[in-house]
């Protein structure tokens, strides 16, 4: 009786990430710039190849854990559980995609074009090696009745300078959404608005912070995911439909949320990108003094 010895070589799935993650963005054409956010349709050249590649990567076990702990205790005691299954994908695999996002940030003037030095020749070669280190790429699948921490669906900032969401399937009634935080009749579109208020009315900002700490931060209790709706303190200002191969770009300091319909599945790639430090030779604006403002 013989044993069948499986070779590692036969079990490792090799993926042509270079091809599957190649973007379409050769020119500024196709970029719809709405100021606070940007929509780019047909972002990837081979979206189906990318989906196959992403699906070949594993996810962690947290969604299974959350399903059990919610059923048994109504809680998820291990930190913030975002809705759905998350795959931590390796940014280095999808450098072409990240480069496309970076170039789009320049084209739509989120980043100055000085970084054009990173878009060509030897400068680009060096830059491509560094770029993934400043990025996060997470595949996220939301499905009906998925479990999340209470308040995890509340619009919030991110920890990244820039964010991008690439929708990987059509999901009618699912949207990327942008919100204003409303406090005492006044709207705040982003973190800077709030910081600015803090210069004039620190007490007011303290009150806002207290409210957000209690109502805008994920709790230990869990729930079946629900779409976030307008409240007294959050007013939806913009939305973008979830359409396959559509990229939505925005700065991380805005109040944004994915509003999933709850029907069928919504599969997307969430990208976070921090500003890539410039060469030292370009430094020189260290001095700041608000007194000199007009």
């Amino acid at each position: 009786m013989g044993f069948e010895i499986k070779k590692f070589r036969d079990q490792i799935k090799e993926v042509d990430w270079e091809k599957s993650s190649a973007p379409n963005t050769e020119t500024e054409e196709g970029i719809d710039d709405y100021g606070d956010y940007v929509v780019i349709d047909n972002f990837l050249r081979n979206p189906d190849d990318f989906i196959d590649a992403a699906l070949s990567c594993p996810a962690d076990w947290l969604d299974q854990v959350a399903t059990v702990t919610h059923r048994e205790e109504g809680k998820f005691p291990y930190g913030n559980k975002e809705a759905g299954i998350s795959q931590l994908l390796v940014p280095h695999y999808m450098t072409p995609l990240l480069f496309g996002v970076y170039k789009s940030l320049i084209d739509c003037e989120f980043l100055p074009a000085d970084c054009n030095m990173n878009l060509d020749g030897a400068g680009m070669q060096k830059f491509l090696l560094r770029l993934p280190q400043y990025c996060s790429t997470v595949g996220t699948l939301m499905y009906p009745e998925c479990i999340c921490s209470v308040n995890s669906n509340v619009p919030s900032f991110t920890q990244w300078n820039y964010n991008a969401t690439l929708f990987l399937n059509d999901s009618p009634d699912s949207e990327w959404t942008l919100w204003d935080f409303v406090w005492d009749g006044k709207s705040y579109s982003n973190a800077e608005d709030i910081f600015e208020e803090g210069n004039e009315n620190p007490e007011r900002v303290e009150q806002m912070g207290e409210w957000l700490n209690g109502n805008g931060i994920p709790k230990i209790e869990s729930q079946v995911y629900e779409k976030f709706k307008d409240t007294d303190h959050f007013m939806q200002t913009r939305s973008v439909d979830a359409v396959k191969n559509r990229l939505v770009l925005h700065r991380g300091h805005t109040f944004s949320a994915i509003n999933y319909s709850g029907n069928d599945e919504l599969y997307m790639l969430k990208i976070g990108m921090n500003e890539i430090p410039k060469p030292k030779a370009q430094d020189g604006n260290e001095f700041t003094n608000d007194e000199v403002y007009s």
Binding site: E109, P112, K278, N285, N289, V292, S294
Partner: protein, 299 residues
């Protein structure tokens, strides 16, 4: 450890070494630099925000509170005389002088260590008050230089023709009054497709390559202006190699159509994206004085 002092028993100097006096060095205090850099209150400015053919621009009059003080300070920086340098460099260094800019006239590099207050004022106006740019403050590095166009200056390789800047946005603050001079923006309309192009990105787009616009554009600029075909590089052409010529007061023709002019009026700032074709229009044959401006660019 034994103390070491190099042997300085050199022969005495043949000539008296002239002393340096600290007052010979131009000096400015912190408060003086703040005053020099101060912008007028926004209520005192005349601000025009526009968009012509997708070229967004700001045109702000009465921007500096002390424009002549700014001018006086800037004029103490040196500049390389590029008209002479360019000719010398042809013999000495294959045509490359120290200043690599293709800008006409004289250009003084301005040390940014002296300009942060000005940079703050500028960002506060265009980014914060006017919300004209959406870059994060931390993303911006200002680089400063001056432009001085003067009577009788020469052109080098036809640098009066439209160009694109290697940086994203430029602020040009005019410190002399030359309302006939201007920064002019151009577009090219393809005669076959009727499609308008505003820069080389448009010309090199996949669509322009496929519909023949790029090929027609390159043929025209080589025939008309002496650009050199260069299929080996992505643009497909190189700058004319005619070296020094009299500067032309060039404001477009039936190929490059002028659609936006921002005049060079005293204490006025034009602010625009450098990636659109534009050029400096200055009548070097007839103007009686130099046009002088401070340029701040976002790198």
């Amino acid at each position: 450890m034994t103390k070491f002092i190099p042997d300085i028993s050199f022969p005495p100097p043949k000539f008296k070494i002239p002393p340096v006096h600290q007052d010979d060095i131009p000096q400015f205090t912190f408060a003086e630099l703040l005053e020099i850099s101060r912008f007028n209150d926004i209520d005192k400015m005349d601000i025009q925000v526009g968009d012509k053919g997708g070229t967004r621009f700001l045109y702000v009059h009465n921007i500096l509170e002390n424009p002549l003080d700014m001018r006086k300070m800037l004029m103490q920086f040196p500049a390389e005389n590029r008209a002479k340098s360019a000719k010398e460099a042809l013999k000495l260094n294959k045509g490359t002088s120290f200043s690599t800019s293709k800008a006409p006239g004289l250009q003084q590099p301005i040390e940014r260590q002296l300009m942060p207050a000005f940079g703050n004022e500028l960002f506060f106006l265009i980014g914060h008050r006017l919300n004209f740019i959406k870059y994060r403050r931390e993303s911006i590095n200002w680089k400063y230089f001056s432009n001085c166009f003067y009577p009788g200056m020469t052109a080098w390789n036809r640098n009066y023709l439209p160009h694109m800047d290697p940086f994203s946005y430029a602020a040009n603050i005019f410190l002399t009054d030359h309302p006939k001079a201007c920064t002019t923006f151009f577009k090219y309309t393809d005669p076959v497709t009727g499609i308008e192009s505003f820069n080389l990105y448009d010309i090199c787009s996949q669509k322009s390559v496929e519909n023949g616009t790029k090929e027609r554009y390159i043929k025209q600029i080589t025939d008309r202006y002496g650009y050199l075909p260069a299929p080996e590089i992505p643009n497909g052409f190189k700058s004319p190699n005619v070296q020094a010529e009299p500067w032309e007061f060039w404001k477009g023709d039936d190929f490059y159509e002028d659609y936006l002019e921002l005049p060079s009026c005293f204490n006025t700032m034009s602010f625009y994206a450098g990636k659109r074709w534009h050029s400096a229009c200055y009548d070097a044959q007839n103007e009686e004085s130099a046009r002088y401006s401070l340029v701040a660019v976002i790198e």
